[in-house]
Amino acid sequence: MSGLAIFTGIEVLFFWLGVASLATVQGLIWIRWKKQASWPSLALMTAGMATILFAVAWAVSAVLEKEPQAASMSLLVILLPGLILTTLGGRLAWK
């Protein structure tokens, strides 16, 4: 979604963050409800998904401010731990 020369990059970013956050919360509720996931696994997945969302927000912001190195680094040092946490939580939930 482009800004259509109306919305700024930051506005578009926060809109999609809102969409993704609600989807994440619903996903976590669904996992608890349908998969009877344990609370530790849910805690891990919540932390992981929050970290992933934060990493995406950071990376997009870094691209918007034209600091590509900051975007790459954020993927390495924030997204990666987020993915690990989420995967661990997921494995606990699905085991």
Binding site: T8, I10, V12, L64, E67, M73
Partner: protein, 435 residues
């Protein structure tokens, strides 16, 4: 309607009683219709501490600084200019166009609309100086006026003689002669100092040291000159004497701190919450006195951060910025061969001589330390977040944060690609897709 003849500004007041009455009615109506005013002192928020006085130890031996001893004046006496700008079309950031940009940026600073560092007299429109209804309104209106004239930041504080030069250099003497402050500005007893700051451009400063980074610093001085001359005129119209000074008459940093604009950093400069050190500061002395001064000094963890960061000291090409972990109080003995350092206050001390020597050697005004500071960032949520976090976390984590800043690609100096980023027609829009 009251008309003011600008040409006869120093004539006796021409208002008769009826005109004064009209002016009074108009003023009351304007006040009645205006939105209620509130004095917003400092930008508060989590972790920001407000202090009643300047939050740094000042020893009993502290003395007012003599302007004669500034590096600019001591070098001037040796025939060394303040700046020695160069151009070289083969070097990025030093092309003739960039040199021209830098030179043109000095225009207003070098040719102000009124003389600086002298007292300007009331216009005499009113028979007695205008009285604001209360200190809150005065703060709000003075600040709005400064912002109207282009100030990025403005703070108001009581005059504190400790921060005024003991002696003021007579410019025409080539830095050789001085006058005591009180004699240089006779019949002037300022009560208030209005401190204004001008934001330097982020991309231009990222190109430091170069003619581009010089351009934004010098443009800031021209901008400050614009604000000062207009604010002085505003105060003169209100019926108060005022003396504008960019770098003259007194020390900008302690006045800015007293006016709640930030803390002092390792470079000895003002560290503002929003702009970091990416600011130039100036001030106006005025006889207008307020019943209360709302702006108070604030701290938000800069000293602890500076103790651990060291980016400015590491990047300084002349080694002028101190590597001492903690700030210190110097005695007169400590600085006997460094007269440009004023002892008696706890801070990090910049070696101004080394700094200015590099200015002359490099043909720039450097600014590497300002540009590399982790607090020098464009206005984005993730930088505001990190600034807030830095206010709380303990020392070792500050070191980690400073290191991460470099890993993320910020604060690289002597970057030959930076001038191209500055000139890129697409620019850094900071609002992303808007271009």
């Amino acid at each position: 309607m009251v008309q003011v003849d600008r040409e006869s500004q120093f004539d006796e007041p021409k208002l008769d009683r009826r005109s004064l009455l009209k002016l009074g009615v108009a003023g009351t109506a304007a006040l009645a219709t205006a939105a209620p005013l509130t004095a917003k002192a400092n930008e508060g928020g989590f972790g920001t501490k407000v202090h009643s006085d300047i939050p740094y130890d000042v020893s009993p031996e502290y003395k007012r600084f003599n302007q004669y001893n500034t590096v600019f004046n001591s070098d001037r006496r040796k025939g060394i200019p303040a700046m020695s700008p160069i151009f070289d079309d083969s070097r990025p950031g030093f092309s003739f166009s960039e040199f021209a940009l830098s030179m043109a940026s000095t225009n207003l600073w070098m040719n102000p609309g009124m003389e600086m560092e002298v007292v300007h007299q009331p216009r005499g429109v009113l028979p007695t100086p205008y009285q604001f209804p209360d200190a809150t309104t005065a703060h709000a209106q003075l600040k709005r006026a400064a912002r109207h004239f282009g100030a990025s930041l403005v703070g108001i504080t009581r005059r504190d003689e400790r921060w005024d030069y003991s002696d003021v250099v007579i410019y025409e003497s080539g830095g050789h002669e001085t006058l005591p402050w009180e004699k240089a500005l006779p019949d002037f007893n300022p009560k208030t100092v209005i401190v204004v700051a001008w934001e330097m451009d982020y991309e231009a400063l990222a190109a430091s040291p170069s003619q581009i980074s010089d351009a934004t610093a010098l443009n800031a001085y021209s901008g400050l000159t614009y604000i000062l001359t207009h604010m002085t005129d505003y105060l003169n119209y209100l019926g108060y004497k005022a003396a504008p000074a960019v770098n003259g008459l007194g020390l900008n940093v302690p006045y800015a701190i007293a006016a709640g604009l930030g803390e002092v950093n390792r470079m000895g400069m003002l560290q503002n919450y929003k702009y970091g050190p990416r600011l130039r500061i100036a001030k106006i002395y005025t006889e207008l006195e307020l019943d209360e001064y709302y702006d108070k000094p604030v701290t938000f963890g800069i000293q602890r951060f500076c103790e651990n960061c060291m980016h400015c000291a590491n990047q300084c090409p002349s080694g002028a910025v101190s590597h001492d972990i903690k700030p210190a109080i110097y005695t007169a003995e400590d600085v006997k061969d460094k007269p440009y350092i004023n002892p008696g206050i706890r801070k990090w001390h910049l070696n101004g001589q080394k700094c200015h020597d590099y200015w002359i050697e490099s043909g720039t005004t450097c600014a590497t330390c300002i540009a590399t500071c982790p607090y020098n960032k464009p206005d984005f949520w993730h930088h505001r977040l990190i600034d807030r976090i830095n206010t709380y976390i303990p020392g070792p984590l500050h070191k980690f944060m400073a290191e991460m800043d470099l890993w993320h690609g910020y604060g690289n100096m002597f970057d030959e690609k930076a001038p191209a980023v500055f000139w890129d027609p697409k620019g850094r829009s900071y609002d992303g897709l808007k271009g």
